[in-house]
Every structure is written in structure tokens, then in C-alpha cells.
């Protein structure tokens, strides 16, 4: 039973990852487990923190509101007893920070920052990020264009080119 429910959990997550608005009723039908079971599993996964939230993937370039996203490479000195985690926390507490990843390789953190202009992002990096104790250096890369995000290609919807009826 546990194995069965693990399998359906993975399938539920795959469906929701593609379209988080798919209803528990539809998921229940598609997986043959019924609405109640689907809803219960979703609820459990929300409580366990497996499902961390439901967001909307926005193509900001399509509306006039200006928005700038930058990827910052950050090199730090890990702190005694706390390693990288404490430093990461000091970074991710800021509203402007969308994501923080600990990296292997030449630098330590990748920090994704969102701002209204290049100037405001640059200002945040120089005044807030670079001044944190333990941060050795930063390198800022602005994102110029998003082609694909969260597994979705940011283009016009493809038309169904198939012949409509065919034996």
C-alpha cells in the first residue's frame, strides 16, 4: 500500500508541476484513485512541505511593468560551526532575493535578485549583499531575455498542426 501511494504521490506531483490548477477531482480520475484520495494526498504533501507553494509563471516581458532579474555569483568565507547555512540565511531574508543556491565550483552561492531597474539591483548588491560579513566578492550578471523557465518555453502557444480527422 505504501509503495502504491508513493507511486501515486509522484504522479500527482508530476501533474501539479505541469499545471498546479488541475483539480483533485480530475487528478483522482486520471490516476484512478478517486477525488478523496487525491485530495488527501495533496493535503498531506502540503503539510509535509513536499508541496511548498503554488505560483504563477509570468512572462513579465509581455507587460509594460519594468522588471530586472540578475544572477549574482557570491564568494564567501564559511563561518565557524555554521558552515554556509548562516550566511545563506542572511542573504535570503531580503525581499529582493528570489533564490539562493549553494554551488560547487569556483564560487559559493548563486543568488537570484529581482528589481525594478539595473540601478536598483546594482545598488542592492553593493550596499546590502557585498557588505555582509563573510562575503568576499560578488559578480553580477543581468538576465537579458528568458527563453525557457520552469520547464516552459516562453513563446506563443504552438498550433495543433495535425490533420483533424484521420483513420
Amino acid at each position: 500500500m505504501a509503495e502504491l501511494s508513493d507511486k501515486s504521490k509522484a504522479q500527482i506531483l508530476e501533474i501539479l508541476e505541469k499545471d498546479s490548477r488541475t483539480s483533485a477531482a480530475d487528478i483522482g480520475i486520471m490516476l484512478g484513485i478517486g477525488e478523496e484520495e487525491a485530495a488527501a494526498q495533496i493535503r498531506a504533501m502540503e503539510e509535509e512541505g513536499v508541496i511548498c507553494g503554488y505560483h504563477t509563471l509570468v512572462n513579465w516581458e509581455k507587460i509594460s511593468e519594468e522588471k530586472v532579474v540578475a544572477l549574482i555569483e557570491v564568494r564567501v568565507t564559511p563561518q565557524r560551526d555554521m558552515g554556509f547555512d548562516k550566511l545563506a540565511e542572511r542573504i535570503y531574508q531580503y525581499e529582493e532575493v528570489q533564490a539562493v543556491y549553494l554551488m560547487s565550483g569556483a564560487y559559493d552561492f548563486t543568488v537570484i535578485i529581482e528589481g525594478r531597474s539595473m540601478k536598483s539591483v546594482a545598488q542592492f548588491v553593493s550596499s546590502k549583499l557585498a557588505t555582509i560579513d563573510g562575503v568576499l566578492s560578488t559578480a553580477t550578471h543581468f538576465i537579458l531575455k528568458t527563453y525557457k523557465d520552469e520547464g516552459m518555453v516562453m513563446l506563443e502557444k504552438e498550433k495543433d498542426e495535425r490533420i483533424q480527422v484521420m483513420p
Binding site: Q11, I15, D19, T22, D26, I29, M30, L31, G32, D160, R162, I163, Q164, V165, M166, P167
Partner: protein, 392 residues
């Protein structure tokens, strides 16, 4: 002036529902449930392999039977998936879609007057190709009560001394029916009893659901030597436009098929063959992903049809369901035409797949959930009107 046309070709009856297809093509805003191909694009690694082959200027003919590399991969695939060993030099060859292989198998084996058993409802080409090859089609009508499975008793009832070939189209288009091992064992006995050969069209072999695993009749004792196995890349790897199929058969039969292919076709498209090599090498995960997705939509469509009162047995293969619409007292074509005009939904009348498809329609679930919802919502409305639940 003399009549330019062959009598035989003129006598070949055109697809009975041509008229219906023409109406659909003039209604671009119709929502379709009528396609016969995957909604997925070919997985990128396969497309990329095709592009790469063009960059390397692999733009020439291949040998008639196809790239050796590809034939080797096909032999490995057949061993892996259906447990049958074929010699990759003399028992496998690459065709332009499974449909070419169907035509070649019939032409290579039939003499005038030889009878071919064709279970229907089934794909539209077996009967005309049999006629063009000089054979005589004998239709076996599959029954809804048998879940459209072929039975050995039906073969016994239809076979005569002139019967030479049994066409075995499973998993089936349009019904979605799948044969189980025990069905195949009895069919194989009947085939041997009547000394027949089998053309096994296994183009939907990768698309079976639940516990149902595809079993090839070629894997049963004594059957490999009697079977022309036909498969292809279209349905499993979403490669319909690449036109890639293959046949695996005893050398004696295959040699004659390749001979006709050599004169009529030369070889399958070279770019497609290189893409096909990649599909066989790395495509398993993509096939599994698409299969899981079809299965979810299959359950959804079945649930909706049952809920709106369209009885339908649970199909375990392909990507079609075949609901029974006979309770409305109209022909399949009437039903499909009215549904098209009133609710702008295109389905395929069951009669497109043989006279015994009367009373059924074929619904394809190779669509996004969003599209299925929209289309099935309209079908529901149509059915409710017919049932008098809402005002027309």
C-alpha cells in the same frame, strides 16, 4: 480517348466517409477528437539526431533494406521488448511507415484468389491493399461482447482451403482492444491448424496500459516462421511525419518484400533512419513518459463517457476509445455529422473502420487535458439534448 484508369483501381471503393472528412476540413473552428497520431512532438534528442545527420551531409540513399546500424538496433529492440530473436541482416528491413510494410507483405505473399482474413473494425488499409495484391478479403467482425478481441472460433468459422493470411491488428485502432497471451495461444493454434501466415501489425505495441503487456504472436512456439511482424516509430516515438516503419519476418518472405521495396521505393528516408537509430537507443524513457500521460487521459475520457451515459468497454491499448452510440437510433455517420454541425466536435464514425463499426464512434485521447475537457463538454451537451434532458 481511351479510359486512362485501371478497372481494378476504379473498383476499389473509396473510403466510405470521405464526405464526412471533407466537411470537417471546412470547419477550422471545430474541436477535434479525431486525430490518429500523438499530440507530442518527436522527443528532442531524436529530432537532434536527424538534424545532426543533415549537418554531416548524410543526404544519400541508404541500402534498400535500410542502415545496418538501424537494423541492428531494431533487432536488439525486438529481443528486448518481445523476446524474439531476428537476424539483423536477413530478417529485418526498414520501410516507409508501417503502412508500406503492410502493402509489401500482402503483395509478397498473395496469388490471385488467395483469401485474407481481416478482423474489423480495424485500420483502413488492409482490405484495399489485399485487393490490389489480387487477394480476396474475408472480413471477420469483432464483437463488442468480446471486447473486440479476435477469437480462435472466428478464425475456424472463416477459414477455407483458399485462406492464406490472417491480419492481426492489435493493439487495435479504432477500438483500443488488446489481445492477452491466452487469446494469442488459441489464435496461434488455429493459425497452425489452417496452415496460415500472420501479418501482425503491432504499431501500437508500446501503448498498452495497466497490467496489460503487449505480447507478440511471433513469440509463441512455432509462430515466428509464420509471422510477418510489422511495427514502426510513428506511435511509440511520436514520429508520424518521419515515415518510418519496419518489418521482421523469415528471410524467405522478407527477401521478396525487399525486392518490391527496392523497385518501388529504393529506401526509407535517410534522415529519418538516423533519427530512428537514436530513438531505439535512447527513447525508452520518453516512451514511458508519453505512455503514462496517455494512460491518465484514457482514464479521464472513459470516466466522462460513462458519466454522460455513453457505454464503452475499457480499452487497454493505443490512444482511442470506441463508445457505443447505438441507443440513439442513428447511424454512426449521422451521429458524427450532427455532433459536428451542432457542437463543432469532430469524431470518426465507426463505419470508417468497416461496416461492423456501425453503432460506434472513435474518440482519440491524443490531446491535452484542456482540449479533452472542452470537447467532451460539448459531447455531453449533445448527448443530453438527444436524451431530452435539455431543450434542443
Amino acid at each position: 480517348m481511351r479510359d486512362p484508369l485501371s478497372r481494378q483501381v476504379q473498383q476499389l471503393k473509396p473510403s466510405g466517409i470521405r464526405k464526412f472528412f471533407d466537411i470537417v476540413s471546412e470547419m477550422p473552428d471545430a474541436v477535434s477528437l479525431g486525430v490518429g497520431e500523438p499530440d507530442f512532438a518527436t522527443p528532442w534528442p531524436i529530432r537532434e539526431a536527424g538534424i545532426h545527420s543533415l549537418e554531416l551531409a548524410h543526404t544519400h540513399y541508404t541500402s534498400n533494406a535500410g542502415l545496418q546500424e538501424l537494423k541492428t538496433e531494431i533487432a536488439r529492440y525486438l529481443k528486448r521488448r518481445i523476446g524474439v530473436s531476428y537476424d539483423d541482416r536477413s530478417e529485418i528491413f526498414v520501410t516507409v511507415g508501417g503502412s508500406e510494410a503492410i502493402d509489401l507483405a500482402l503483395r509478397a505473399m498473395l496469388d490471385p484468389g488467395d483469401e485474407v482474413l481481416i478482423p474489423q473494425p480495424s485500420y483502413v488499409s488492409y482490405e484495399p491493399c489485399t485487393r490490389l495484391a489480387g487477394g480476396a478479403p474475408v472480413i471477420i467482425e469483432l464483437q463488442e461482447k468480446d471486447e473486440f478481441r479476435l477469437t480462435a472460433a472466428q478464425i475456424d468459422a472463416a477459414a477455407t482451403e483458399r485462406t492464406k493470411i490472417l491480419v492481426l491488428p492489435f493493439p487495435n485502432n479504432p477500438t483500443g482492444s488488446v489481445l492477452r497471451r491466452e487469446d494469442l495461444e488459441q489464435i496461434a493454434e488455429a493459425v497452425i491448424r489452417h496452415d496460415l501466415y500472420v501479418i501482425s501489425d503491432e504499431i501500437y505495441s508500446e501503448l498498452t496500459y495497466g497490467e496489460t503487456e503487449h505480447v507478440s504472436i511471433a513469440s509463441l512456439p512455432g509462430m515466428q516462421e509464420r509471422t510477418v511482424l510489422i511495427n514502426g516509430f510513428s506511435k511509440a516515438y511520436a514520429m508520424t511525419g518521419w515515415r518510418m516503419g519496419y518489418a521482421a519476418a523469415p528471410e524467405r518472405i522478407l527477401k521478396q518484400m525487399v525486392k518490391i521495396h527496392q523497385y518501388a521505393i529504393m529506401c526509407a528516408p535517410t534522415t529519418s533512419q538516423y533519427a530512428g537509430v537514436e530513438a531505439m537507443r535512447s527513447g525508452d524513457a520518453d516512451v514511458a513518459r508519453m505512455r503514462a500521460s496517455y494512460d491518465q487521459r484514457r482514464r479521464y475520457v472513459l470516466h466522462e463517457l460513462h458519466d454522460m451515459g455513453l457505454p464503452c468497454f475499457e480499452p487497454m491499448g493505443a490512444f482511442y476509445v470506441f463508445p457505443n452510440i447505438s441507443r440513439f437510433g442513428m447511424t454512426s455517420e449521422d451521429f458524427a455529422t450532427k455532433l459536428l454541425y451542432q457542437e463543432k466536435v469532430a469524431v470518426v464514425p465507426g463505419t470508417a473502420f468497416g461496416d461492423c463499426g456501425e453503432g460506434f464512434i472513435r474518440i482519440s485521447y491524443a490531446y491535452s487535458l484542456e482540449n479533452l475537457k472542452k470537447a467532451l463538454g460539448r459531447v455531453r451537451k449533445f448527448v443530453e439534448k438527444l436524451d431530452g434532458k435539455t431543450e434542443a
